[in-house]
């Protein structure tokens, strides 16, 4: 079985060896008088890669899979009653880029009811083939019939990679299908790449810390990844369609234990993800009333206010305005962060913005690593001064 073996004789400094592990999973076993790895191990490989030489060794199982039998980068068409979610096009764009590196085709799988017209539309974004499962049973999203159709697609096509949008539905469906094929799934990837041997390189913030992890699925196929909206770039819609639509026969059993009793349309919410200008308030805000200056600035710039997680935890903001790994991903033309330190989780939600201005009084703050304009100053000075200037110029022109 795969595990990390400890080569006791190569550990010279026991205390130092124990401290390498950020999860406290390396311990001294007094009874056996040896260093051992406990079940707190998260397989971050730090001890293998950075520990004393030949002390921690990864022992792997021999597993053989024939990767050449799995071909194609596939995208799940995320939709709400036939209205295709734009994350789909972003993923198709990425899929094309990944597929071209290994000479694979790009597929889309579209499951729904009365969706054949929309399926044709997908052909304007550069896929080779759209597989359509169109049936009354797919009218409402129910997990069992959708999983059945998705699995049928994988059985039929054997794609090497499957990309799914990390929408509420995608996050429910992708794990279900991945588990059915007993294969790996990496959630909320922020960077994707393709290796020559068709292994998908999946990069995401990890371990709840200020750190990124590169994850692969080397011994199983298909390899599943989810990606949030606005992380990848959507391709331009081409005038001419290309590729073809293939209508698939739905699986025989589409029954479900779930009955949809009613469905009411939510009030349309304003989404910070659509804003072109965003002003972000971070923990530097001392009291709730101080958010007023942030709101004023956003209003002057015709933008929206967003916040970091501590402000949500303090109850100072609507959770829908949180930016980051567990909030929204945004990609506005302009973002001004005010007193935000720039944790990886936060940055995961905004690094693709066009102009990033960061105001922070700590010159070493990590937000400055992604900012285009690093403003080392106090928000309680900079913002009032800026507002003052704006107000004055308005008076002059008025």
């Amino acid at each position: 079985m795969a595990r990390i073996l400890v080569n006791q004789k190569n550990i010279k400094d026991i205390d130092k060896a124990i401290k390498i592990c950020p999860f406290g999973a390396i311990e001294w076993n007094e009874k056996n008088r040896e260093v051992e790895i406990t079940d707190a191990c998260k397989m971050c490989m730090i001890c293998v890669n950075k520990g004393p030489e030949d002390a921690f060794i990864l022992e792997e199982d021999e597993v053989f899979i024939d990767k050449s039998l799995w071909k194609g980068v596939s995208v799940y068409v995320d939709h709400d009653n036939g209205a295709v979610h734009p994350v789909t096009y972003e993923l198709i764009g990425k899929a094309r880029e990944l597929a071209d590196k290994i000479n694979h085709p790009v597929f889309a799988v579209f499951i729904g009811s009365n969706i054949q017209k929309q399926a044709k539309e997908i052909l304007h974004y550069g896929v080779d083939e759209v597989f359509v499962y169109d049936d009354e049973a797919f009218k409402d999203f129910k997990i069992e019939p959708y999983t059945a159709a998705f699995s049928d697609f994988i059985d039929k096509v054997s794609p090497s990679t499957v990309l799914v949008g990390a929408t509420p539905l995608g996050r429910s469906l992708a794990p279900r299908v991945a588990a059915r094929f007993k294969t790996g799934l990496t959630a909320d990837c922020t960077i994707l790449d393709m290796k020559e041997d068709t292994d998908l390189v999946q990069i995401r913030p990890a371990f709840g810390g200020n750190i990124m992890a590169q994850i692969c699925t080397p011994k199983s196929r298909p390899q599943f990844a989810t990606v949030r909206y606005k992380i990848m770039n959507a391709p331009e819609r081409s005038e001419e369609p290309s590729g073809e639509v293939t209508i698939c026969k739905p699986p025989a059993n589409l029954s479900s234990a779930i009955t949809v009793l009613s469905s009411k349309v939510k009030e349309v919410e304003e989404d910070i993800a659509d804003a072109e200008v965003i002003v972000v308030a971070g923990r530097a805000i001392k009291k709730e009333e101080d958010l007023e200056m942030i709101e004023m600035l956003a209003k002057e710039l015709g933008g929206k206010v967003a916040v970091t997680r501590p402000l949500i935890e303090a109850g100072w903001g609507d959770p829908k305005t949180q930016i980051g790994l567990s909030g929204r991903t945004v990609r506005p033309k302009l973002i001004i962060t005010c007193g935000v330190s720039g944790s990886v989780q936060f940055k995961a939600g905004m690094t693709n913005s066009e102009y990033i201005f960061a105001i922070n009084k700590d010159p070493k703050s990590p937000i400055f690593q992604v900012a285009h304009y690093a403003i080392i100053g106090d928000i309680y000075e900079v913002i009032p001064e800026l507002l003052e200037k704006i107000k004055k110029s308005e008076e002059v022109t008025a």
Binding site: M1, P168, A179, G184, I215, S262, A374
Partner: protein, 263 residues
Amino acid sequence: MKTLVCIKQVPGTTEVQVDENGNLIRSGIDSKMNPYDLYAIESALKIKEKMGGEINVMTMGPPQAKEVIREAYMMGIDKGFLLTDRRFAGADVLATSYTLAQGAYQAGDFDLIICGKQTTDGDTAQVGPEMAEYLGIPHVANVKGIVESKEKSIILEVEMPTTIQTVEVTYPCLITVEKGIFQPRLPSYRLKKKTKYQEIHELTLDNFKDKNEKRYGLSGSPTQVEEIFPPEQNTTSERWEGEHLGTKLYDQLIDLKFIYKNK
């Protein structure tokens, strides 16, 4: 009515940091219950108030994860299972879900399994759906309300992209609940005293139906961390320090046409 709630112990407020050489620095090892799982526990307690029955909790983790089971006892949970075994170490989502599913088989026949929306360390929101798949039962994610719990089924309010759906699902099933579905109660002092010595049921791989080591821990994990590194840095930035930064910012925003002088 028998309900199982899956809970996880996660690192406390301190975070894992990286030093200049890309090494992880451990900053404290305090831990707490995954905050999202408190909502799952509260949902189970609300259902029990109406339907009666028994609530179990289960966690997979090292022996110190017992603490979260103690906390669940203090909230009024009846029985707790800890799945702990060296051979579970290094589990990714798939292996975790498989282990939890095996544990659930062992712990008893459940009508309803409740998971939190996500964890604050793994942060995948995938364990619930994968576990349901392994148990061969339907799941409903994004549950934001419980309308009515009944003898053979439960009626739920589900957050969909543009709609709120009311759905009915028959048992057995698994649901993942949103934060804020109910206000979680605080651990009670009375229950703390009462449950101080209450047993925590430990299960290891040897207790499971499937004893094939290859399906657990690192061996059962198709995803592998190849490398960890500090986040990318943007090197093309301008740095401003000193006086009149607000004015400087104003001028720059005008240059970039985010502020129009004559509006």
